[in-house]
Each structure stands twice: as C-alpha cells, then as structure tokens.
Symmetry: C2
Subunit: 395 residues, 2 copies
C-alpha cells in the first residue's frame, strides 16, 4: 500500500493553507531546493561545459522521461522531456497529420484547453489542414474518414470530465485516424494507460500533479510503432541522429528522441527530477483509489453543507479526473473569500469554483476542512465584501 502520509511529508505546504490548486501549480517538494542548489554549485559551477557529459545533462531529457513513462502507462525509452506543452502539442499533432496526408481534419472538442486549440489552428493554417471543434459529448460521433488526427485533452480543465481514452482511440483507429492525448490534467492525477489504450501520441506538462515547479518542462510520448516514422516539423539539433557531427542536413534520431528540439533546460529538469522522487513508492491504482475517495468525500460534503453550490463535474467518478468544480453565481467572490481563509482553489469564468485533489498531499482532513470553511462562508455570506469582488489584473 502506498503511504500517502509519507508522500504528504515530502512537500512544503505553507502554514494554515489547504491547497486544492495542485491542478494548476503543484507545491514544492522539500528536496527540490537543495537539489537545484547542488546542481548549480557542483555541476554548473565546477564542471562548466563538461557537465553535459560528466553530470549527464544530455541524457537528462530521456532519463526524466523514463520516470514519467511509468506514471502514464508507457515503457522506458518512449518519453522525452523539453519545451512547453504547447510546443509538444504542435509536434505531436503535426507529426500525426503528416502520417495521414490525404486527410485535412484535426478534430478536437470545446472542452479542450484553449492553447491546444490555438496551436492546432496555427498549424492548420500553415499546412492546409482544418481544425474542427465539436462539443465533448459529440466527439465520438464526429470521427469520420476525413479526420487525420483526434486531438483530445483527457481530463477537462474546468469540469474534470474524463474522456474514455480507450474507446475514443478505438473509434479513431477504426476510422483510420490517429490520436493525440493531452495529459495535462491526467499525469499524476489518474491511472493513465497509454499502451493499454493503444494511443498514438501523448503530451503533458509537469507543473501540475507532477510538481516540477512553475513552467516546468513538458513531455511527449510516441507509441513505439510510430516512433521511427514520425517526422517532426520542428527539427532541432538535439533531435538529430548525431547532434555533434554538426551535419548541414537533418537526420532524425531513432525513436522519440527526434522530438527533442533545442538545448535542454537543465536547471528546470533538475527540479523536476527531485519532484519525481516522491513518486518512487506510489502505486498508480492506489493513487486512483485515493483520488476517488477524496473527490467523492468533497462532493458529498459540499452537497450536504453548501446547498447553494451546483456540481459542475460528472457525478460518476469513472468519468472524472482528480478535480471537482461547482458553480455559484458569485463564484469569483466566494473563491476570494475561501482563499482569504487559507483554502486555495481557483476560479474560471463565468461562475466556476475549481478544486484539485492531488492525492500525494491532500487528505480527508483537508477535504473536511475545506467543506467546513466553504459552508461558513456561504452561510454568513462573508464573501459579500467589496474586497472579494475586485479582480486583480493579470498583465
């Protein structure tokens, strides 16, 4: 059995804070600070340029990738790190489209994260493809023989609704399409099984449930059957078969390493590597069971004690990731009042209160406390204060 008390101890969580926003940015693993400081002092400072070999900086993107592979149902040598999720979406979708050159449609749904849609739109304009966006429940019916690529985020960033990866992949394959799965809200949150679902490409970020730090590097997975055939548009020297031959023309590396582009972000990968230590003794079925326990308890508690809130997530845990959202007409002010009381979730327009339940450091006491504070805020209407209605500008 996974010891979740032990994993919770591995994180720095500020005094008086119940953190239910790990679906946006995970907290800092205690080991990360020293690991980064040591890398800077012992590797960058002392090894200088020789760190690329001596400290293994070159191979870090695939070594860290191997650690993530286990968490998403992939095998060793199938995942590589780098760039940001948006870049990795571009690589996966462009590679998949190029493998179905006779088909124009990139199919996605309106529950996808906007950046994925923007990326696909930019790609489509450049390569004469078409981005088609349907409602989440219409995806399966919209897969036809015009579709080159099905680009889906498994877990909806607002509602937590979880697509059926296996069924949609099968439908796509039957129609001759390839699939690109965005695991932003899945990796480290649910029991992803890429090989078991026979997916084609997958991408994800590491600053949410994987706790790699703000802007931590992204990952990309290619099914082994495509890994030596996928041709990325973004051809960078680190994805070359022999980067240090300095050839004038590009020869892709074997396997997923061709998805590397530029020089890897060593400091950021070091922080992420420290964060992945926490996962070493975590079983993914245990994680999923714990996640369901937490989200079920939260829904039950809120529905019992906060009748003003309307559930905005699927009630069936099989159709949900590790987050729950509720609606309230004054959602923004309610969230500000919660945050003022140390319960951190976030708000998505127009009226959604969003809460993430990262099993590594959220426990049933946190759930009970969050419900209690929310009930109090709603009961005495303490959200109805001017300060909670003022919106901070982000730019």
């Amino acid at each position: 059995m996974t010891d979740f008390d032990k994993t919770k101890q591995a994180f720095h969580l500020p005094q008086g804070v119940t953190y239910l926003d790990g679906n946006s940015l995970g907290p800092m693993p205690k080991a990360a600070k020293a690991r980064v400081a040591n890398m800077m002092a012992d590797e960058w400072s002392e090894m200088l340029i020789t760190g690329w070999n001596k400290a293994g900086w070159y191979v870090q993107p695939r070594k860290v990738g191997d650690r993530i592979a286990r968490l998403i149902g992939a095998g060793p040598g199938q995942v590589v790190m780098g760039d940001t999720l948006s870049i990795k979406v571009f690589q996966a979708v462009s590679a998949a489209r190029a493998m179905r050159p006779q088909r124009r449609v990139i199919l996605s749904d309106s529950g996808n994260f906007p950046s994925d849609l923007y990326v696909a739109e930019g790609l489509a304009r450049a390569v004469d493809a078409e981005l088609r966006v349907v409602a989440p429940e219409e995806v399966a019916g919209a897969i036809d023989d015009t579709v080159a690529v099905l680009m889906i985020t498994e877990v909806d960033y607002r509602t937590g609704r979880r697509h059926d990866m296996k069924a949609l992949t099968q439908t796509a394959h039957t129609a001759g399409a390839l699939t690109v799965w965005d695991l932003a809200h899945s990796a480290g949150a649910v029991d992803v099984d890429l090989l078991g679902c026979d997916a084609d490409f997958a991408v994800g970020c590491t600053y949410k449930y994987l706790n790699g730090g703000p802007g931590a590097p992204a990952f990309i997975w290619t099914h082994p059957r495509h890994a030596d055939a996928a041709q990325p548009i973004l051809q960078g020297w680190m994805g070359h078969r022999a980067p240090f031959a300095f050839d004038q023309s590009y020869q892709p590396a074997p396997g997923v390493e061709r998805m590397r582009v530029g020089t890897p972000p060593v400091i950021a990968l070091t922080a992420l590597d420290a964060a992945l230590d926490v996962w070493d003794d975590v079983s993914m079925p245990d994680l999923r069971a714990r996640s369901i326990e937490l989200t079920q308890a939260f829904i039950a508690g809120v529905e019992e004690h906060c009748p003003d809130l309307v559930l905005n997530s699927p009630r069936d845990p099989a159709k949900r990731g590790s987050q729950v959202s509720f609606r309230h007409p004054q959602g923004y002010a309610v969230m500000q009042a919660l945050i003022a009381q140390g319960v951190i979730g976030d708000f998505r327009a127009p009226d959604v209160l969003r809460f993430g339940f990262a099993p590594l450091y959220v426990d049933l006491d946190d759930v009970a406390h969050a419900v209690q504070i929310m009930a109090m805020i709603l009961k005495d209407k303490s959200w109805d204060r001017e300060e909670f209605h003022e919106r901070a500008s982000v730019t």
Copy 2:
C-alpha cells in the same frame, strides 16, 4: 569606464581553471544560486499559484527581455523570453516568410549553426518554401527577388567570422527580403545594434555570453514596424491577447508578446535574471574594446609561441566576434591536453581548436597563461598521449 575586475569577481570560476569556453556555456554568476533558492523558498513554496501575480512570474519574460534589449541595440518592450533558440528561429523565420508569401526562398549560409538550418528545412517542407544555403562569402550576391527571408547567424560558431549586419540587411531590403539574425554568438559578446542596422527579426540564446545557465531560455526581438503584423505559426496561450479569457480562438497579443508560446520557465528565468545583474554597469563599447584587446593578444601570442597552429578566424577584428579558432592536425588531442592543464576551450571537427573570450571574466593574464600552456604542450608534444586521443561518446 566599465570595471571588468569587478565583473570578473561576480562569477564563480573553479580553482586552477582558465575558462575560454564561455561561447558554449557561461560560468555561474555567484548571485544566481541564492537567487534561485530564494525564488523557490519565498515564491514557489509560499505563494504557490499566487506567485504568477504576486511575484510577477507572468511579466518576467518581458522584464528579462527588456534587460537584454539594451545589450543588443533594441528598445524596451521589443524583446521577449522563452523556449529555446531553435524554437525562436522557427518563429522568426515563419513569421518573416508569411510576410513575403509570394517568395519561396529562405536564404542562409553554410557557416550558420546546423540547428538553424534544420529548423528552416523543417519549416520549408511544411509551408512549401525552399531553404537555399550558400557559402558565407556568397550571401550578399545570392540575395535576389526570390528571397523571402535572409536567415543569418551574425558570428560563425567555429571561426568567429562576423557578418556585416548593416550591409546585408540593406541588401536584403533593397531586394524586398526580410532579415532574421541569430545572435547566439553575438549577444553579450559584441556591440550589436539591431535598430541601427534596421534588422527585422532577431533571436538568441542566453547560456553563452549572457551566463544564464545550461539550457537557459532564448529571446526573440521583432522590429516595432513588424511587431503587430507578424503572425506566428506557433500560437500559444501566453501569446494570446487575453490568455485568461480562455477564448476558443486565437487573438495575438499586441507587439512582440505574441511570440510567447507556453507557460514561462520561471526557475530558469530567475537564474538568468540574476546573471543579467552583472551587466548593469557594463558599457557595450567598452565590452567590444575589451573583446578586441583580448582576441588580438591571443592571436599575437599564439602566432609568436605556437607556430604549429594556423589561424582559422579573420585577422581583422572588425570581421570577428569574441572568439578565435586555430587549426592543428591533432586538434582533438591538443585540446584534451589543454583541458588537462586547466585551460578550457573546445574542439570542432575536423581540426579546430576554439576559444571564447568573454570580456566579463577573461582578462589579459588569462590570455597570457593560455598561450604559455599551449606553447608548452606543443613544444614537448605532451598532447601525444593515448588518453588525449580517446573520444568520449556524448550519447
């Protein structure tokens, strides 16, 4: 007058090392380690998700960009940070090409860094353009009315040969083409004057002469006349006009911020920001004068004391960046012998010994010492030992 003794004191340089490889990876500024540790402890740990606003993480890419702008002859609000240099090359070249849709040719030269050529080749294949590569001395003559984009690295990564940015830009403009300048070996090394040269786009990395750390984020500059017109293929949410409106379709942000793509790498940008502090009191004309003094002294010393070496860089400092290379039939072994004596340069096949002279921390004593060690190694043939001939494998 810039105090280069003071700037040298700002870096951690290992005992017994003369570091002439800052053109590959700059050393660690002493302040960087504490700055990153503090960011992790005070911002990530304590502010969690609120760090995006409270600690200014969102605006960091343009704030850091403003600091770099001064070093490359650009104005505030014109430079933004993120991703890697290869990605930024893709963005700049694709945006420039889209502004000359009737023209198919991306013109570059064989002295360009291979990754730039790979990126252009991948883009060309996707958007029906053509990458044309000529010898460095043939660039000016090859600019004709078929050329959409002139993509040039100002300073050659092997020879240090510096292109005439102003003249080539003028030739390109006369022919109706746009220019993309890669400043990888220029930014922080020479007195770049983007606005004065009337360039169109520029990109660069920050782990060389700017000392941001291994894999530090890249930068991109867009001339203000293009900044609101350039349409990037890589459309990410951070380049959207209103990222937190979560619109389904992309509306580019005004100005160069549309060149942002995904979530910014906060830890890495923090290290870079600390590294840029060292530049605060540095005058770029002083930097250039110092660079010329160092490279001239090195060439004179080597030619006097190491007659076996053949200069592989332009003799005229006006045609050279801040690095010098020499050829030797046993170049690899000679470089290994130098490194064993604490003089760190690097080797590029087939026979090039490459030395960078970063004015912030290399001084005339370092130059004299490097010449002395090299003379000794060549005189007593101490490079001819088996250990110096064995090549480490990078993968």
